[in-house]
């Protein structure tokens, strides 16, 4: 299974085994990454699973879809590498992915 590293804003690092074809958000919840909230459960309607994709991974992860871009309007501190983690599907190519969480989210 691909490994994903979540770096929370307080510095807590979680490196987890992520299930293929599930979302990065689901991996975060299953492994207790508490700064990923995911109020809507993966529906792309709440913007509480906001992550910053590590610069080196931006190309592989890709850009948000138009509907995700719209939902990012409901997030704060949005940057070029912002994504909603419920909309990133875990694939073998993402083995080693690093994402960071924004300081305001969760906890």
């Amino acid at each position: 299974m691909p490994k994903i590293t979540f770096i929370e804003h307080d510095g807590t690092v979680h490196t987890v085994e992520a299930e293929l074809d599930r979302s990065v958000m689901e991996s975060a919840l299953r492994h207790g990454v508490s700064s990923i909230v995911a109020e809507c459960g993966g529906g792309c309607t709440c913007a509480t699973c906001h992550v910053y994709v590590d610069e080196a991974w931006m190309e592989k992860v890709g850009k948000p879809s138009p509907s995700e871009e719209e939902e990012l309007d409901a997030a704060f501190e949005v940057r070029e590498n912002s994504r909603l983690s419920c909309q990133i599907k875990v694939t073998p190519e993402l083995d080693g992915l690093i994402v960071r969480t924004p300081s305001y989210q969760g906890r």
């Binding site: 309607t45 704060f76 300081s103």
Partner: protein
């Protein structure tokens, strides 16, 4: 404060589980009022996923959040439930055995024999931008909703966001403001195209300032805002004079006042007896996503089941003199009469 509204049962939360509780209670001749902080019924189904399909409602292969809400409203119509939207319960006081006096933040009070908390993930509240010190300005210079437009007359306003709320209030407040600045993180708006066009026309005519970026900081003292620092998309920083800021970033779920009602809680969920769904406070029940018990699953169908069992015990409080006879809607003429079909 006005006279309390008297009802048998007060239901807190008008999501699917609160709505179906009206049905189960209604079959047992129990009258209900419902209070919800949102301005419409449906709870998360209406607010978070009105268009999303739900596939696990028994007997309905597929229904959207809004579709389920509409169907439940139709189903409970015979019981004539009374709704109170846009209000939040602030306190619950025991005044009898059991009899409750319940107050809302709109200064309304209810007198009821039982309370059903069907509050889902808590109460939906506006998202607060993570700007240092913003709390100090709230309700004085920072507003998440417009109650009286007059407050904003002749002021320098900063509206933040890109959806319909931001656009609607920009268009409504621009004529009365001294100057209005609309700030959004990107130069695309998800609001209604007509509103976007109107907003763009105001910008072209010079009547409205549009900035693309995000708020970086606030300046002011003792709750009175003076200016906002804006980090623009191209990296530049600018300063705008602001008397009032209105951020519109949608809603988020907060547990809210539930935590203050002396209920036994575990991980922000209310513990209940699994045979009645009653809390540690006799006469107060909790059903749906807000409760917890061994094996709990946060499914709408679980909330429906919990409502049916809750109603049996609530009947004991509301009609203590009456013996409850279990009946089926398929065969009972008396139940069918209540439903208006016999």
């Amino acid at each position: 404060m006005s006279e309390p509204i008297k009802t048998d049962v007060l239901i807190i939360g008008a999501g699917p589980v609160g709505l179906f509780a009206v049905f189960e209670l209604g079959l047992l001749d129990i009258k209900t009022h419902l209070v919800d902080i949102l301005d419409k019924p449906g709870g998360q189904c209406g607010e978070l996923y009105p268009e999303k399909p739900i596939y696990d409602i028994p007997g309905i292969p597929m229904v959207t959040g809004q579709g389920l809400t509409d169907a439940l409203l139709e189903q409970i119509k015979p019981f004539n439930p009374q709704f109170h939207f846009g209000e939040m319960i602030t306190s619950i006081e025991n005044i009898g055995d059991p009899l409750f006096l319940v107050s809302t933040d709109a200064d309304k009070t209810f007198e009821c024999k039982a309370i059903v908390i069907a509050a889902g993930g808590g109460s939906f509240q506006p998202k607060r931008p993570p700007i240092a010190g913003i709390e100090a300005y709230e309700e004085k210079s920072v507003f998440y909703a417009v109650r009286k437009m007059d407050v904003f007359k002749g002021k320098n306003l900063l509206v933040v966001g890109g959806g319909d709320s931001a656009l609607d209030w920009t268009l409504n407040l621009q004529p009365i403001a001294k100057r209005l600045t609309l700030l959004h993180r990107r130069d695309e708006f998800r609001g209604a195209p007509d509103s976007v066009n109107k907003m763009r026309a105001l910008v072209s005519s010079g009547a409205l300032d549009l900035k693309i970026g995000q708020v970086a900081g606030l300046e002011g003292a003792e709750g009175v805002l003076q200016a906002a620092t804006i980090k623009e998309k191209d990296g530049a920083t600018s300063r705008v004079e602001v008397d009032c800021m209105l951020p519109f970033f949608g809603l988020t779920m907060k547990l809210g006042p539930v935590a203050d009602w002396s209920l036994k809680m575990k991980d922000d969920l209310i513990e209940v007896d699994v045979s009645t769904f009653e809390t540690n406070r006799p006469g107060i029940f909790a059903i749906g996503d807000i409760n917890t018990y061994p094996g709990k699953l946060k499914l709408i169908l679980s909330g429906f089941h919990e409502g049916a069992l809750m109603a049996q015990k609530a009947h004991h409080y509301v009609h203590p003199e009456k013996r409850l006879v279990f009946q089926y809607t398929t065969s009972s003429t008396s139940l069918q009469k209540k439903l208006g079909v016999a």
